[in-house]
Each structure stands twice: as structure tokens, then as C-alpha cells.
Symmetry: C2
Subunit: 393 residues, 2 copies
């Protein structure tokens, strides 16, 4: 909610939903650049501001939004009441700035809804067992919303964004990308983790866990959006749901590791202990019983990974560690991929036709990812999107 117009625009959508006879709880984020302004204020004070105080600071942004939206709803004749995270009953663990919801005590929300009020809840925030304010990290307001929908067994959790749904690819890169009417949780999770930034993964995971039907739609253009839900009667045919790219990957190579059991375990348990998210893994058997182990990690973790691995090189008897940050990951997502072996071949053909070199490949039940040079990423996205665009779905 950037400004007054936007606040009233949201208020009108909420009031319409309420006046159609629905019980409504609405979760809001901070206005426009409020969060950035607060982060800048903290940066002026300290290079490494205390995480607890950072959460006290940032949570004020949503507190401002809920008050303004509640006022706007009342102005439209719609009874409304704002609730901060702690008032709404979000109980979290102690992890400041990336807290996880442990429990949502819906007593207050329920009593306000029973009084026929629209409940306006501050997203992104809760309190821990010490009554200290915690925040959920980027995209945390979606998670707040899904948590309410789950706890209240809501018919639907509508996520209003600045786009009108989930697309088969980023329309800024692939102009003929299509809006989806329906996508499954798993497909959405793959797309989100691949760099489609509409919904954050934690909120989709939560929705999947509690069977909450999501709808992604635009607050500026209120037509039906994309439904995200469990899709049980999967069509037998191939259903490519989308293509996405992620430029924030780094490929890590450890050379000359002995090709013996247990080495992999040592490397990847080390990554897990350090909470590094490992994605594509490739083992190339090498010269004389040794091999190279190659895997990708988020680019932001690359230097940490280098330090950890170099410190522990003797542990897995490798000879060197190298990091390549010139690559991007381009993927297609869709159910039924495993049972259509031609998909990977078709993807490779499209890339070959576009003269794009593939560096690594990874496949799962519902996705195929390739690593290509960063400068080829956009062309690769267009090529594979358009290749599958021709497919019957």
C-alpha cells in the first residue's frame, strides 16, 4: 500500500468481499518504501544492528499500515479493527528476522470476526516466548496470511500482489508468457525456488501442509487470478507449468576427491550443518580413481562455502576448491515430466538451436534445470519456454 489511493483501493476490495457476506481477515505489509526507510535509519546507527531491535524497528511498518487500512475501511462504512502480530496471536520461535510461527492463538481474531468486524492483521510479525517482537523475513506477510487461513479453515487465502497471477515465465523476459489458471503446490514450490518471486516458498509450504487454497491476484485489476492448490486428479498428459531462471547461483567444484563411499556424506553433511542449501549435484569420475564433486549453492553463500570447504579439505582429501559465479539456472516445471522422457531432449534441442551451451543438468519429478552462462540465461528462458509453448497441454 504505497499511498492514500492504494490504501482505499485495498479497502474497497476488502469491503466488497465483506459486503458479499464473507467473514474477512486481511493481512497487510508495510507501506511502499517504509521498510527500506527503517532499514536505512538502522544502518545510520550501526553497521550490524542488534537483530532483536531490528525486529522492533521493522515491525512498526506494518503497525502503521494496519491502522491506516482499518481507518479507510471504517471510512467506507465497513466495521474493522486492526491487530498487531502479538495481538493477533502469532507465537514464534526466537529466530529474530527469520522467525517461524509455532502457534497462532486465534482467540482475538475469532472474537472480532464473531462481532462481524473485518480483522486487519499486521503481517510479517509475531512474538516469541519472552514476549519479544519477531519478524518473519522477506515475504513474511504471505506466511502470516496463510497461517490465519489455515487456523480459521478459510475457504480461500487471496494474495494480492502487483501482478495478476502466476505466469509460465517472467513476462518481462518472455513476452508471450501465459497466465495460469491453476497450479499445484509442488509446481509452485519449484517455480518459486527457481526464481519466480511472486509467492515465497514458506507460505506455499504452509498452504500445502494445511490444504489452504491460495489465489494470486492483482490489487489494481481485481479479476480472478491463479489458483494454487493440491491437484489430485493429475492429467495424464504433460503439463508444463512454467519456466524460470535464477541468476543467483554459484557452482562449487572440489577436485580430486577419492571415489570411495562416505565422501559425499562428509561434504554434504558439512553443508547441512552450516545451513547451506545445496541444489544440483554432479559427480564426474576422474583420473585414477579420483573424481570431481560439483554442486550449486546460492550465490550469497559462495564465500562461506569456500571457507568451510578449504578448512575441511583434508577431511575428504580433495586437492582444491573452486567457485564459479558466472552461471545461471534455467528450469521448466510441470507435473508428469518423468513419464515423458522426451521433455529433456526437447529442452536440450531448443537450447542447442539457440546455440547455448549446457554446463550441468538436474531433473526431478516435476522439473528439469540446466546451468548455462549468465549472459545466455534470458535467451535460454525464451527458447525453452517457447519450445514447450508448442506442446499440447
Amino acid at each position: 500500500m504505497r499511498d492514500k489511493e492504494h490504501v482505499f483501493n485495498v479497502a474497497r476490495i476488502v469491503a466488497d468481499t465483506y459486503q458479499a457476506g464473507n467473514d474477512v481477515a486481511v493481512v497487510v505489509s508495510a507501506q511502499g518504501d517504509t521498510t527500506d526507510t527503517l532499514v536505512a535509519k538502522a544502518a545510520e546507527i550501526s553497521a550490524r544492528p542488534n537483530p532483536r531491535e531490528m525486529d522492533v524497528l521493522l515491525s512498526s511498518g506494518e503497525q502503521i499500515s494496519i491502522a491506516l487500512l482499518a481507518m479507510a475501511l471504517q471510512e467506507l462504512g465497513c466495521p474493522a479493527i486492526s491487530l498487531t502480530g502479538w495481538q493477533a496471536g502469532y507465537e514464534t520461535n526466537r529466530a529474530y528476522s527469520k522467525a517461524r510461527i509455532k502457534n497462532l492463538n486465534t482467540e482475538r481474531i475469532e472474537s472480532e470476526i464473531a462481532r462481524k468486524k473485518v480483522v486487519v492483521v499486521a503481517g510479517f510479525q509475531g512474538i516469541n516466548v519472552n514476549d519479544d517482537i519477531t519478524t518473519f523475513g522477506r515475504g513474511g506477510s504471505d506466511t502470516s496470511a496463510v497461517a490465519i487461513a489455515a487456523a480459521m479453515k478459510a475457504d480461500r487465502c487471496q494474495i494480492y500482489t502487483d501482478v495478476d497471477g502466476i505466469y509460465t515465465a517472467d513476462p518481462r523476459i518472455v513476452p508471450n508468457a501465459k497466465r495460469l489458471e491453476l497450479i499445484s503446490f509442488d509446481e509452485m514450490l519449484e517455480l518459486a525456488s527457481l526464481g519466480a518471486k511472486v509467492l515465497n516458498n514458506r507460505s506455499v509450504e504452509l498452504a500445502k501442509k494445511y490444504g489452504v487454497t491460495l489465489e494470486v491476484l492483482s490489487s489494481l485489476d481485481p479479476k480472478p487470478g491463479t489458483i494454487v492448490r493440491e491437484v489430485l486428479n493429475m492429467n495424464e498428459g504433460m503439463l508444463i507449468k512454467g519456466a524460470a531462471k535464477d541468476e543467483k547461483v554459484a557452482a562449487v567444484t572440489i577436485t580430486d576427491v577419492p571415489d570411495v563411499p562416505g565422501i559425499n556424506f562428509k561434504i554434504f553433511s558439512l553443508m547441512a550443518q552450516n545451513k547451506i542449501n545445496v541444489d544440483i549435484i554432479l559427480q564426474a569420475s576422474g583420473r585414477g580413481g579420483n573424481m570431481d564433486v560439483i554442486f550449486t549453492v546460492p550465490q550469497g553463500d559462495a564465500e562461506t562455502v569456500r571457507e568451510i570447504l578449504e578448512e575441511n579439505l583434508p577431511l575428504f582429501q580433495g586437492s582444491s576448491v573452486s567457485i564459479d559465479t558466472t552461471l545461471a539456472k534455467v528450469s521448466i516445471v510441470g507435473a508428469g515430466m518423468q513419464s515423458h522422457p522426451g521433455v529433456a531432449a526437447q529442452m536440450f534441442e531448443a537450447l542447442s538451436d539457440a546455440n547455448i551451451n549446457i554446463r550441468m543438468v538436474s531433473t526431478s519429478e516435476i522439473k528439469i534445470s540446466v546451468l548455462v552462462a549468465k549472459e545466455d540465461a534470458d535467451r535460454a528462458l525464451v527458447a525453452i519456454h517457447n519450445a514447450f509453448d508448442e506442446l499440447p497441454s
Copy 2:
């Protein structure tokens, strides 16, 4: 706390106090124009924003301040923790925007102080019995501070402001006004109610009730300020503590009221029922057994008073109501005034010498007030201040 420099300035004062071996709780207001910005945001949404939501909105201002000050203290190596009003234990009544503290549950504050932390508390805010956020109105942060000092039996409650103490008159009007070293609660209350805006009355009343010694001093120039406390061994001599003016008064005249018992009661109980603060009262016996009743009220209440009185004129058989808003009240405050009958005379002489006409007079144990024309108010203030400046005190 306007900006980064000001935050660190306050942090340094607090850190010094802590490092001198004191347990410290510090109460902060919103930064600079934050409150005005938030009020403007609400005004964009609604001409009469909901008071509960207004308190949710405004309380975010102090929440921002406490986080930033706690960060700055930590940056200076001083262990600190911020607490919002509800975290700090301020329990209030339900009166949004002008809530009164019913109880301060100091459990959290005490436990943090026991851990040798500086507690940074959001002033101006608490929660009511429904866990809804309330605010205390203008000057509310002083009240928050006095409440902590009272509950924790603090040695002193220092109020840092943009002036370096309490003056015998507003130095912008009376250039030779002097800074006081000591003033009693009662004198401070009279001065404050007369328009000296350094401390709000509620905080002084609370300090008087719990015997909390206040010190008013400047955050920019940290030398000893003015002490406000119970002064028991009152000097026998006359002690003029200050002169002040209040331009926001209206004189109300009800003409031709019968001079019979009970009429006054009817008029002033009507004012009390409507929560109108009546100050100076003057009854001029009139023609033929009738009289005019004249009294002053805050100028902001003038139109309400006119409506109430005109509606009820038959009740006290008056013939008309007139309101005069061209007057100002100028007063001197000091203990021992009653026992020095020459004070009023000297005040009148000073005003006469300055050719200023007196419209009404009121005296109490520790103050003498006169009503003069608004355009004469500044000259009157200088004249009476300087007249008493000559007195031995």
C-alpha cells in the same frame, strides 16, 4: 531525537549515567516530526480517524525511537534492550488518545535491570484491559517516565528537553528571565497550567503524588537543570518563582442573573458536567438585584460553552451570554504570596506604570493572575516579571 546525531547524543548521556554505576531506565518520545507525519497520514484517510486506530498508528513512532536508541547504546558498548509500552507493563484505562496509567507492572523492567541492561522504554503508550494499544496524549512520555521512577523508587527522574531548565518567565519574551535551581511541585503545577510548556501537568501531579524528584535539563547542554520536588521547609520570605502568560483564554459573561443562592451552583455544575475547565470567576452585582457572572474558560471550549449556556439560559434566568476572546491571562507564581499582601499591589502598580488595563483579577495561595488585552500580554509579562525581579527572594 531528530536524527542520527541526536540519537547518539542521547545515547552518550544514558551510557555515561549507566557507566557511573546507576541502574538506568530511559523513556523516549517519537523522533522529530514522526508524530506529525503519522497524523497527516491519518488525516489523508479520514477527517475523524477512529481513536483506537489512531493510537495504534501513533504508538509506532515511539517504537521506532526505542529500537534506534537501543542500537545506538549497544554501539557505544552499553547493554540495552528496548521495550514497547505493553512490554514495559503500562496498563491504562480505555480512554484512547488520553489514557491514564492504572498500573505499571514492572516485572519485565526489573528483570532486565537485574541483568544490568539499560531499559529503553517507549513513552506515551500502554495497553488497556483488552490488550488494545492506548496513548497518553501530548507530553505523555514525561508521564511514562515519572511512572517508572515512582514504581522503581528511583533517586531521580531526569526530563531531558530542548531547554536547560525552568525559567522565571519565557526567555523569548522576557530576556532577563532567570533559570531556577529549585521549584516546588505546586509552583510548577501553577506555572505549567499558566502556559509554561516545559513539563505537562499530569507528569508533575504524578511526581508530587509519589514524591518523585524531577530534574528538567537540556539534552544538548548537559549541565545541572532545575529540580522540581516537594519543598517542605518553605522559606518565610516571598519567593516569586515565575511569571507566565496564557493567550488561549475566553471570558464568558452571563448578564442579568438573579442574585439568589444556587444560581452559581447551577452554572458551574453545568460546566463541570461538560468537562469545561473554569478558571477565574468574577461576580459583579448588577442593577436591581441582578448580577453579571463572568468567568474564564479555555479558548478552545468557548463555542461549546456558548451553546451549553444559551440552551440553558432559562435554568438560571440570565438574559444573554457573551464571549470575549480578546484577553490574555498573565500571572505570577510563588509560595508565600498570601502572607505578603503587598504583592498584588506591586503587580498592579507595575501594570499601571506600563499603562496596561486590568480586566479581571484572581488570586490563590501561590499565584496572582490578571486578565489583560491580548495585545498587552507580552508587555504585561515583562512588566510584572521585572517588578518582582527587584524583590529580595
